[in-house]
């Protein structure tokens, strides 16, 4: 198996709780603007933090527009291209309790990096039905794409170096709303 990842230390804060909430509010407005409302819209979040972000976006859209948008959960483990390099996979399941057929599905994830996760998510989603359109909403785009994938809605563009990592911390999982850049400790 791969060697133990190095310990990380916090290098800089990118978003605090207010800025994070503002970014989500703006994304919600952009989604409504681009799609001319929330009809035929559905959110699908990528486990784990993408789901939480999708739920928050859905709540914001309800608050703005009065429309309730369904939220599903996608586990892309079975679609990864590096399954046998990672040891035994942890599968927590996909749960999309509505038809995505002809819907405009907004995929939601916390960080966009190489694009490989989104590639897997597109395959996973299309296996479940034929959406009318798929759009991509991302809280932090940190660059370094390895595939031709581009988000439609971005909370924050954040140029990073490859040795850094971006941690999105959300109240529901980590007790706080914050985005930070981390770097290896022995650097």
């Amino acid at each position: 198996m791969s060697s133990r990842p190095p310990r990380l230390r916090e290098k800089a804060q990118v978003l605090d709780d207010v800025a994070l909430d503002r970014a989500l509010t703006r994304i919600a407005h952009e989604i409504l603007e681009k799609n001319g409302g929330a009809k035929e819209l559905a959110f699908v979040g990528l486990r784990t933090r993408g789901v939480t972000l999708a739920q928050r976006l859905a709540a914001k859209i309800t608050a703005i527009d009065g429309t309730s948008v369904p939220v599903g959960t996608l586990d892309i483990t079975l679609y990864r291209d590096d399954l046998d390099m990672r040891g035994a996979p942890v599968i927590r399941g996909t749960d999309i309790p509505f038809s995505i057929k002809n819907k405009t599905v907004v995929l939601v994830d916390d960080v966009l990096y190489t694009g490989r996760t989104i590639r897997a998510a597109l395959d996973a989603l299309i296996d479940l039905g034929r959406p009318g359109m798929i759009q991509l909403a991302i809280l932090v785009d940190r660059g370094h794409r390895e595939l031709p994938i581009r988000p439609d809605f971005i909370g924050k563009n954040l140029p990073t170096s490859k040795r850094e990592s971006v941690a999105v911390r959300l109240r529901e999982h980590d007790g706080e709303d914050r985005v930070v850049i981390e770097e290896p400790e022995e650097a």
């Binding site: 198996m1 791969s2 586990d75 483990t77 079975l78 679609y79 590096d82 399954l83 046998d84 390099m85 990672r86 040891g87 035994a88 996979p89 942890v90 599968i91 927590r92 399941g93 996909t94 749960d95 395959d123 996973a124 296996d127 479940l128 039905g129």
Partner: protein, 312 residues
């Protein structure tokens, strides 16, 4: 997290966390059965060989479906119609199959320990699909998944396993797993079909059906394995069925109204289970079969993670 083994051979060697990892993974995979397109690419390019030296419908078919839904290539080998019938030994056949570089070999054999021998001999992952009267771990896993979906938890449940305990690999795998998960197990059957010293596995013993099924949450009826009996263990099928057959009347008179009736199949209708019970509202027998596919998908996925012996 929870899984680092190359093989799945017995429930006895697993700890509670490993068992729960297997059950949780299977639970997450159940939704695939409800999709329009029942296929995910997780095991694309992997080869699964079903090496079956004993008859099987459910187990072989469900391993085959599980492998195919995961996009693996599944090859079925059965002893009849193969070089085994020309006298090739088990190990030689296995080595020849291993030379074709499968990733997983699923093996069923009438000898206890057959899967373990293969695990020591072959470099690929081995899944025990039943070895003699020893163990049948994937059956225990699908039983556990069925129980949890209906009862919501494991801890503190009471289970009666009834019938031919001596010849039952299903009973042995379930006893090991259920004890580790905090369940109380009673085995019941005629004394000739209860193995000596079975209490040492941590179970209670009952020699009366009516006592065994009182106040339990789950009744697991076992098949009377006539093919493994060397004779003289029961006076007659009729007598067995009279004392040990689970009928609706007996169930209503002695068991709890929310009891689950399970059976690993194939059912001898009218022997250990009356048809009204097998098809009745308490029965979850077909649910067990459906869960078998999810369990075998989970096992194949978790073992495939191990193939990364090559450094990442």
């Amino acid at each position: 997290m929870g899984w680092s083994r190359k093989d799945l051979l017995t429930m006895r060697e697993l700890d509670a966390a490993e068992i729960l990892t297997l059950v949780d993974t299977a639970a997450s995979l159940q939704e695939i059965a409800g999709r329009d397109i029942k296929k995910v690419p997780a095991l694309r390019g992997k080869t699964v060989v079903n090496l079956f030296y004993e008859n099987s419908t459910r187990t072989r078919t469900s391993f085959e479906i599980a492998g195919k839904w995961l996009s693996a290539d599944v090859i079925n080998f059965s002893a009849s119609g193969s070089s085994a019938s020309k006298g090739e030994s088990f190990i030689d056949t296995a080595k020849n199959i291993a030379a074709m570089s499968p990733d997983v070999v699923v093996v069923r054999h009438s000898s206890a320990g057959a899967a373990e021998v293969l695990a020591r001999t072959l470099p690929c992952s081995i899944v025990n699909a039943g070895d003699g009267a020893h163990e049948h771990p994937t059956q225990a896993l699908l039983d556990l998944l069925t129980i949890r979906e209906h009862k919501g938890h494991f801890e503190g449940l009471n289970v009666a396993i009834v019938g031919d305990i001596s010849h039952s690999r299903v009973a042995r795998s379930n006893i090991h797993a259920m004890r580790k998960l905090g369940m109380t197990v009673t085995v019941a059957g005629p004394p000739t079909l209860i193995p000596p010293f079975v209490q040492e596995l941590g179970v209670k013993v009952s020699y009366r059906l009516e006592d065994a099924i009182r106040d339990v949450d789950v009744i697991m009826m076992l098949r009377l394995q006539q093919e493994r009996m060397t004779g003289g263990l029961i006076p007659s099928l009729r007598e067995y069925s009279r004392y040990w057959g689970l009928t609706l009347d007996r169930l209503r008179a002695h068991a709890r109204p929310d009891v689950l009736i399970m059976h690993p199949g194939p059912v001898n209708r009218g022997v250990e289970l009356s048809p009204e019970v097998a098809d009745g509202p308490y029965s979850v027998i077909l649910d067990q079969v459906a869960k078998g596919v999810a369990v075998r998908m989970g096992v194949l996925v978790l073992l495939s993670g191990h193939k990364g012996g090559v450094p990442a």
